[in-house]
Every structure is written in C-alpha cells, then in structure tokens.
Chain length 523, copies 2
C-alpha cells in the first residue's frame, strides 16, 4: 500500500486504507536523505495534523483527536509580535471571522491570527512553529466550501491577506507575477487596465486570493476557454513547513529543465507548503463579449444546444453554464432577482469572447437562430453591454449565495461525463423523495462539472444517510470524481455536513486530512 | 542540499551539486514508509543509472563509469522470449536503428530490444529487470535531439512501438485514451476523421510516440493555441521501476481529489516510470485553416508584426513561427525547397484556425493589409488549400532536417523573453566570428522559444569551448531556460556534442542523468 496507490482507480468495494500520517512520528530522521518526503511529512505534521487536534463537541468515535501539538505561549506571542508588529491578532472579536468559514457551517478556535507581508516573514513564522511544534492553518480569502480554510482546533491562522502586491507584469508576454494574497478581482481589474484578463474567474472573485485559487486548483467559469491552472500557472514560490523557501517562480512559457515541482503544490490544498507568490500567463482582453441567457425544456435539449454551440461558436465560446428551475426559484425568493425570460426547466448562460464584435455577433445570432428555429431553446435574451452582462451572469454566479438562505445545504461537486450530469440530480430526487426540501443542480456543462445541492430546514442525519454513500456510488459507477474543483478540505462525515469524504475515492483520508489554503472557490 | 533546491533558481556562480543517485545504495529499506521516494530511487537505479554504465571511448574524467548492473544472461533471454515470443530482438542488424539516435550523433551498445504490446508485459519486464539488477532504456519513436532515447551502454531497450492501440475516444467530450506507442500522426489522422485534432503537433509527428511526447513534455507548433500538455493530458498509466502499475488514467476534465501525481511523469523523461497509456483532451477540428508565409527586414519588425497579429487575429491565431535567412539558404541548398517570396532576413509562418472561413479570411486579410501598408512585412503569400499549406509549413518544419546535412551541429533549445530571442543569435555570431560555419535561429515566437543551431564541418572542441558556457551565461543573464521543450537527455559535455548540461541550470546532473523516453520531439 503506498502513496501511488492512493490515486489509482480502485474497485467500488475496495477496502484499501491509507492514512497520510496516522500518528506523530519520529521516524523522520531515518529519511534524512529524502527531503521531499521529509518536507511533506513535516507539513503534514504542521498543517494536516493541525486539522485533527482535539475532538469537537458532538464528534463521533470516527473523529480524530487533537494530537499533541504545543499550545501558544506568551513567548511565542512575543516572538510573533516582534516579527509582525501590529499584525499579530489575538483579540477574539477580530479573530472570529477567520475562525468561521464562508458557509458558516464550520468553526475553529484559533487564538492567534498572523498577517505576514513578505515571504521572509512567512518563512520565519513556519520555522518558529516547526521548532516549537505549533500547528498552523494557512488561510487565503476564506471562501472555500469544504472546510479547508479555517482551523479545526486551536491552530495558528497564517493569513495571506496583506501579501497583496503585484510584483511584475510583462505586457508583451502577458505574464503576471504577484503575491499570493492578491484578490482575484483586484488582479482582474489591474490586468483589464492593461488590456489583459485573468485566465480564471469565479463567483468568489471579490474575496478569494490567487494563492488559494492555485492551492485548490480552482476551476471556475473560464476553464472551458483557457484551460486549467496546471497549464496557465508558470511559476510558484512556496514556503515549506520548516521555513525553507522554494523558488520556482519562473516566468517562461516553456521550461523543460527537470521535474516540474510546482505542480505538486497546485491543488494540494496547502498540505505540502504555503504558496507565497504566483506567476501566471494571462490572455489578452477580448475586444467583444456577449452573454446569452437561454431556456430549455429538457436537459437533453440543453446538451444538444451545447453540441451545436461548440460547433458554431467554436473558438469564441468562453463559457457554457447551466442552472435548473429550482435554482431560479431560489434566486427569485431569496435574492429578489428577476428571471429575464419565460419560465423553463433549464437555463443556460453562454458567453462569447472574441477579437471582432461584428464577427462574434454574427456567429452568435446564427447560432441563436438555429437553436430557436429547431426548438432546442424556448426563449432567450442577449447582452452586449457590461451592466446587462453582469446582471445575466449574476443569475448563475449567485446560486450558491441563494442556497445559503435555504436552511442547511448538503453540497456536492461532481465531475461526470457531460451527458450524465443531470441524471444524478434526477435520480437523487427520486431516491430522496420528500426527505429533502430541495434537490438542485447547476454548474459548468463545458467541463462536465455538476454542483449538486440538497437543502433541508436544518442538519438532518437521516437525510445525510440517505444521500451518502448513494451519491458516491452513483459517481463511482459512472467513473466520475467527487471533487471536480472544490478540493477535499476537512469535511469528513461525522464531523462536517458538507462532505467529500468517501471510502470510494478518498479512502486515504481515514484519519488524516489535507488542509491549508483550501477552498478559495465558491462556484 | 535537497531535491527541492535542485529546482530553485540559483545565482550564476552557485556551486551546488546534487547527484540523483550517486551510487547504488541499500538505504532504501530505511524509507520503507515513504514509497514515493522509494519508487523514485528504484527507477533511478534502473533507468538513470542505466545511462551511466561503463565509460565510452574518448570519455574524459568527467564521464561517469558503467555502474555494476548485471549483464543479460541466457536465462534472462529465455525469460524475455517466453514473455514476448518473436518480440525479443537480439539480431545486431535489427538492433542498430534502436541504438542510434535520430541525429546520428550518439550510439549505444544494447544487445536486446524488447517490444511489449501490453501494460502487463511492460510490468513483467520491469519486475524481472528490477529483480535481476538489469538496466533498461525505454524508447518511443527515437526522434529526440538530446540523447535521451538511446542506450548509453548495454541497457535493454524497452520499445513502445507495438503499443499502438487507441483504447477509447469519446466524440462528445473529445477525450482520447490510447497506448503510449501510438504515433502522433496516426492519432491526428484518427481524430480528423472524427472531427477533432490532437492538441499538439511537431515536425517529428510521423515517427514520435504520444508516450514520448508526454514524457518529454513536448511543446511544438500548437502550444500557442492549445497550451501545454500539463493542461491537456487528463490521465496517465505508468509502470514503475519495480513493475507496479500506477493507474491515473482519468478521463475527466476536472478532478481535484488529491495530489495530481501524473504531473510528476509529464516531462520527467522516463526517470520516474514508463508511461504505457495516455488520456488527452482533443480540440474540435477547425473548419477553416489558413497559413501565411511572410518576410520581414528586421527582427524588431517581426516582433511588431507578432504584436499586431495577436491583437488582430486574436482567438484564431494558432501558430506564429519564424526562421532566419540562413535557415532558408540551408533549405534551398540541401532539400531543394523553393522560397515562395522575396528574399528577406526573416521569415514568419502564421497559421489561423477557426470555425468560420469567411470571418477568418476577413481577419487575416485585414491584418495582412495593415502589416504590408505599414511596411512591417515586405512580402508574403497565403495558402488555404491543404497541399499548399503543407508546402509552406515544410519551410519551417524541415529546418532541423536541412541542418543534418551541414556537417556537425551544436543545438540549443532556449526559452527567453520573446523580445530577446534573436539577440542571442546575433551575439553568438559576433562572439564566434569565423569559427562557426553557420549560426542560425528559428523557433516558436509565440512561446519565446528559440532553436539556436551552430554548424561546423565536423566536431570541433575549440568551437564548443567558445559556445559554452557563453550560451548558458547569456541565457541565465536573461532569466531564460536552457531547455524549453527538448528535455535534458544525456548529453553531458565531455561525452556528447549537443549538450544541455550546464552548471547553471542542470547542476544536479553531476554524474547522474535522467533518461528514458526522452526526446520524441525534433522541433
């Protein structure tokens, strides 16, 4: 049983168990020559184990206990205050928002929030914590949905919020280098003034940090067009658990000298190190953007519309998103948004982005004419003006927010072959019957990524038992993934409601869990 | 000194030395719980050390000796023949082409060529070799330029040439899954019949294998449009050195469950395992393709043309390549190709690929009108018909072939900020004066990737000494990379002429070297 096998596709009934670091171990000295593993284990001791310190009230036997990390002493605080004068926060009121996640479903008990401004400060913090055996929880914009961005127990919160400087931008190559705490929307604005855009966009853009986006390998709304961060991130600077600084901050589009180590840190949710700076390839700002909001009477017609759309819009298609009628009801009910078209079972948001407004409009109109004539689409509206574009996008982007007003939400972020994504919603509805208040589906059609959300007036263990493992078995049967873009976070079943824990995929999370920068991305 | 530091950007005068595995060690048992390192070390013992067995004639003291691997015995051959009846080649005449690289500059002395058809066979071969302490050199299409695809001494050659089956293709998602030995051009043809294309294309497409492309992280002609393999490769199946099969053969566009382990195998040139199958996201076949071949009177004008091109062609630009007048002379002299336009100091190949022929032609003609009117471009021709497109492309694709007729060629594959790429060629010309027969430059402008080639009637140590470390210092000064897309291979200076060894970037190759699938890609 080894780390490699953790990633192999296992049969449904597999009983493999792999624990990242089942107990605090002093074996580290035996692998002194293998620093890659050593660093990884150290980080796990700091960050992963930090997530499993001390049982929360209500934990079942499956919840891990707090491991024997040190407690923060007056001497530690003196060290932090000397290093970060005015940026070592211990006031409980000021700490509150950093201890609670965006969904307000999980809460930690950290008593110290550190706000470094430089990589060197991060390095010194981690070196001190490593030597003192203090647990650390790195935190970006704290917008995650899987409980990965807040402490579980009393870990020190290391926030990147003051690491918000653009380091360089090259307007010939479009390569941006910036600190990890830059807010995505601020970067977008910075770039747009210079004729470029970020290669990713997501609902949380106003709060999420680029370091968190990279740590969680955020997908979002532009993946269809510009691809994943694994292709667009060109370089990273990372601080390892013992304070060493790993500088992979290349700004070259191509570099094949040796292993591409930075890939290990993309999507590993802070378990292997704290990202402190990012260099990323940014596309030119499109000269023309159009958004169409369309209604479909069946998911089959929606899929057929997607196929036609790819053929006819081709290289200018930049997003193809969907929401169902239940999502629309929640938007209307809780956020007072207005449905701009006739009521339909399904709604599509299509975005085009191109270099020639006339050509783009011509392509879009030809496509719309075809899908309307062939009755694939029942009604629709098109926006070319920024305010109206934003209003149409908000119908897709604010579904997550609308759901927070519905009581309790069980959230699932599933990758599936695109033709199967809505079958899961329908099967789940049939399976749950009256148990659930709402079963809604929305997400990224172009990426085969469904956000399945099941609401209930409050936490409901019986409902959860009906959802899981059903949702995992269903996903496994169709060779899907139970985390398309949200990451794994910490939400293991008995402790946390919105869970990605599964014996099918994430069996290795038996009693340890990655943590850290997780979950910058509410979708 | 650790593996992490190998990838850090070091100051020019750094004296750090890191050897991947300086000697055969039994320390492995001390890291039993850290299988990621263990596997990596095992592979290095098999594959990396296989590359440094026994000193070649003419080696200087810096060349590594053959390490104490076993010799192939009759019992080994009996095992291989039972496993691979008719596919265990020992005839020296049949082995010759597998022992010599495409450039015919390096030659190994392998006495056994194995041609497995299945992953299970690869697994059994590696398990046997691991147990018997036999060195192995995996080989794809053997089109590499850096000496990575042929044995150095008497390693067993493990060829993927019979692993050439398409496993699945999903024409909704465009996701192809195939064996590692599929020839790139065959995959392209297979996909084009189904309305799709491969996301990469390169001059060696008629011979190179997709497994080799992925192992070397090949760049090629479409990177500008479709991005790197790190974004488009969705899954890999890999056999580790001890025969274990790692199945990461996902076919999902998004999957954030755990570390993305497959990234370790992309671009690691076979040092961590043998890739046996690949799943890859393929774009739709564009409905319209145009190629323009243009002349520029200075590199500054070429760069200005590139900037205008990106702005005006935008999303339909799929390649922007260049060659200089010296390249054109070689094409005319050795391959009898005809320059279709007026003689110029620089030539550009621009390709557009889009979904609407009328729109694309309109964009292209508007662009051409502007660059001709503003005298950025002095002459040009455009092709829309397949045969003519192919003829224009061959002027760029066959430069490497033309160079092979020039005597001896010192080849460098440099990544630089795009505005600097031709300065290196000019500075090198000035630096070498009459020592070199030819100093030519060509490459991928869109990716900041220069292929610098210096020719000489025959091997010339004095010329080499004038080129290196000059080229590395120059590249380092401008924060470039000495291997943009070719990989590192085995060409360390005293042994091999076309070298990427450098104390500046590749200091870790002191006496060990990656090997394997390297170098599928002549550019």
């Amino acid at each position: 049983m080894g780390i490699f096998q953790r990633f192999a596709r296992l049969p449904l009934k597999s009983t493999y168990i792999w624990s990242l670091c089942p107990q605090y171990s002093t074996d580290l000295t035996t692998v002194d020559s293998a620093l890659i593993v050593r660093s990884s284990q150290l980080i796990q001791h700091r960050c992963v184990h930090s997530r499993v310190m001390g049982a929360s009230p209500g934990n079942t036997g499956a919840a891990p206990p707090r491991l024997p990390f040190s407690r923060v002493t007056q001497e530690d605080l003196a060290f932090f205050r000397a290093l970060l004068p005015g940026r070592t926060i211990t006031d409980p009121d000021l700490l509150k928002s950093s201890n609670v996640d965006w969904l307000k479903t999980v809460e930690g008990n950290s008593e110290v929030l550190l706000r470094p401004k430089t990589t060197e400060e991060v390095s010194q913090i981690l070196r001190h914590c490593n030597e003192r055996n203090l647990a650390v929880c790195p935190q970006g914009g704290n917008t995650g949905l899987v409980g990965g961005s807040v402490p579980v127990f009393d870990e020190i919160i290391l926030s990147t919020s003051l690491m918000s400087q653009v380091i360089t931008f090259d307007n010939i190559s479009g390569i941006l280098t910036c600190q990890a705490g830059c807010v995505l929307e601020n970067l977008s604005n910075y770039l747009e003034e210079r004729g470029f855009i970020m290669p990713l966009d997501l609902g949380a853009k106003g709060s999420c940090h680029i370091g968190g986006n990279v740590s969680t390998n955020a997908g979002g709304l532009r993946l269809l067009r510009y691809g994943s961060l694994r292709g667009t991130v060109l370089g990273l600077e990372v601080v390892l658990a013992d304070g060493r600084i790993l500088n992979c901050l290349a700004t070259l589009r191509k570099d094949n000298t040796g292993y591409d180590l930075k890939q290990l840190f993309i999507g590993s949710e802070g378990t292997l190190g704290v990202i402190t700076a990012v260099s990323i390839l940014c596309p030119h700002k499109p000269k023309a953007v159009n958004v169409a909001f369309l209604g479909c009477s069946s998911f089959q017609q929606l899929l057929e519309t997607f196929q036609r759309c790819r053929g006819m819009l081709g290289e200018i298609l930049s997003a193809f998103e969907f929401l169902d009628a239940s999502c629309m009801s929640l938007l209307e009910k809780h956020l007072k948004l207005t449905n701009p078209i006739t009521e339909s079972p399904f709604y599509i948001v299509i975005e085009t982005a191109g270099s020639n407004a006339t050509h783009d409009e011509e392509k879009l109109h030809k496509f719309l004419e075809e899908v309307m004539t062939s009755s694939l689409v029942t009604d629709g509206t098109v926006a070319t003006e920024a305010t109206k574009i934003k209003a149409l996008w908000s119908l897709r982007e604010r579904v997550t927010e609308a759901l927070t007003h519905e009581g309790y939400t069980y959230k699932y972020d599933i990758s599936l072959p695109v033709e199967k994504i809505y079958d899961l919603v329908q099967d789940m509805r049939g399976h749950l019957g009256d148990m659930a208040k709402n079963v809604v589906g929305y997400g990224h059609v172009g990426d085969g990524n469904l956000h399945l959300n099941i609401t209930s007036p409050s936490k409901d263990p019986a409902l959860l038992a009906a959802i899981e493992p059903y949702v995992y078995e269903w996903t496994s049967e169709w060779k899907g993934s139970i985390s398309a873009e949200h990451g794994l976070g910490f939400n293991s079943r008995p402790v946390r409601p919105c869970t990605y824990f599964s014996p099918l995929r994430c069996f290795w999370r038996g009693n340890g869990s990655p943590t850290g920068f997780s979950g910058e991305n509410y979708p």
